[in-house]
């Protein structure tokens, strides 16, 4: 049981660690693919709208 729980913990730590690392080194597409002349903000999570 101890080995199983240790395995779960290891997997969770690696997954969370990778998510933090990728968050730090990547940039969102609306930043990467817009030029200086474009005024593009964070489009949010719901692109369909409140009634979508």
């Amino acid at each position: 049981m101890k080995v199983f729980l240790a395995a779960l913990l290891f997997a969770a730590i690696v997954a969370i660690g990778v998510s933090i690392l990728l968050e730090a080194i990547q940039e969102p597409s609306y930043v990467a693919f817009s030029t200086g002349g474009a005024r593009v903000g964070n489009p949010g999570h719901n692109l369909v709208g409140p009634n979508g």
Binding site: V3, A6, V14, A15, T35
Partner: protein, 333 residues
């Protein structure tokens, strides 16, 4: 002479009259359709392999207007893949149910001896359980991507489905990293014991003893386990490579490469799931005493002698003695 002249004037007048009549009659014999041979829209979409041009925005991929191969890919992703996955996974489950109802659990014929032998070390079990637990979450979240929009969304609604799918996607992406670490470690740890040999040929010919009461000899890993090992290493490697290509889009290829990566990733994944269902079956309810190997790391000596007799001989030759209680002496009457 005058009458001849009158005849000539009459003839020319008649001809002129006829010409005027002919010219004034509209030509209704054939309607001409000026667009008869022009290109139709469907023909245009199929004729050209790709329609792309120059764009001024930073994402140059937006210059591709039409990619007809994408329609074939969409047909695969929405129709063909669901058939392949459904048949493979449901077929495997059905086969296991039928097998369990007819053959039942493979029992320990000589009963438990009470003495155990170390089969897997703590590190081996640690690596196995990292890979296995990640696989379960990856499988469920992956099947969600393929199947659940038509199957689950109508049951739970858009809000719940999108929330669940968002978390499933994060789990799928981030747990792929410990899964890949597990697959690499499994490959390195157990490569020595999983090279096929003649004993495996004999084991396969005897059906692994799965039907009847045969117990073909085997070393530490029998042919069935070696098959699972190579499925995990090769299949796991394939889903990892294609998965990272999908996770970091367009780093390695264009849209055609991404479509190919998705095709390979999804087909290997559904077949991998079907194979692992069989592995989980035999390691839990399919065979008495099998789970102990990955649970506690120690297996009953009688179990080891019945299923891995050559491995027991090797262990005893190395001086690895079974631990646990010795058999109770029979009381003298």
């Amino acid at each position: 002479m005058a009458s001849f002249g009158r005849f000539i004037r009459l003839a020319v007048g008649a001809c002129a009259f006829l010409l005027v009549i002919a010219a004034s009659v509209p030509c209704n014999a054939q309607q001409v359709n000026p667009t008869a041979s022009s290109v139709k829209e469907q023909q245009l979409l199929q004729e050209l392999n790709r329609i792309q041009g120059r764009v001024s925005i930073p994402d140059q991929r937006s210059g591709v207007l039409e990619q007809p191969a994408g329609r074939d890919w969409r047909e695969f992703r929405n129709v063909t893949l669901r058939w392949i996955g459904g048949i493979a996974i449901l077929g495997t489950i059905a086969a296991m149910v039928i097998f369990y109802l007819t053959r039942g659990m493979v029992r320990l014929e000589s009963g438990r001896s009470g003495r155990t032998l170390v089969r897997f070390t703590a590190f081996e079990r640690f690596v196995h359980w990292i890979t296995a637990t990640c696989f379960i979450v990856l499988a469920i979240s992956g099947l969600n991507i393929t199947f659940c929009r038509p199957l689950l969304l109508p049951l739970i609604g858009f809000e719940a489905f999108s929330e669940w799918s968002q978390w499933a996607k994060y789990a799928h992406i981030y747990l792929s990293f410990p899964f890949t670490i597990g697959v690499v470690l499994i490959f390195l740890m157990w490569i020595a014991g999983n090279i096929p040999n003649k004993v495996d040929v004999d084991w396969l010919k005897r059906g692994g003893g799965i039907v009847g009461h045969d117990h073909p000899p085997a070393y530490r890993f029998n042919a069935g386990q070696k098959a699972i090992y190579w499925i995990v290493v090769i299949g796991g490697g394939a889903v990892a490579v294609t998965g990272y290509a999908l996770m970091f889009p367009f780093y390695l290829s264009g849209i055609e490469g991404m479509q190919l990566a998705q095709i390979v990733h999804s087909i290997v994944a559904v077949l991998f799931i079907a194979a692992m269902l069989a592995h989980i079956y035999i390691g839990t309810i399919g065979m008495e005493g099998a789970f102990d190997a990955m649970g506690t790391g120690e297996v009953d000596l009688n179990w080891a002698k019945e299923h891995h007799s050559l491995w027991v001989e090797e262990e005893q030759a190395k001086g690895h003695t079974p631990s646990g209680s010795t058999p109770r002496p029979i009381a003298a009457e």
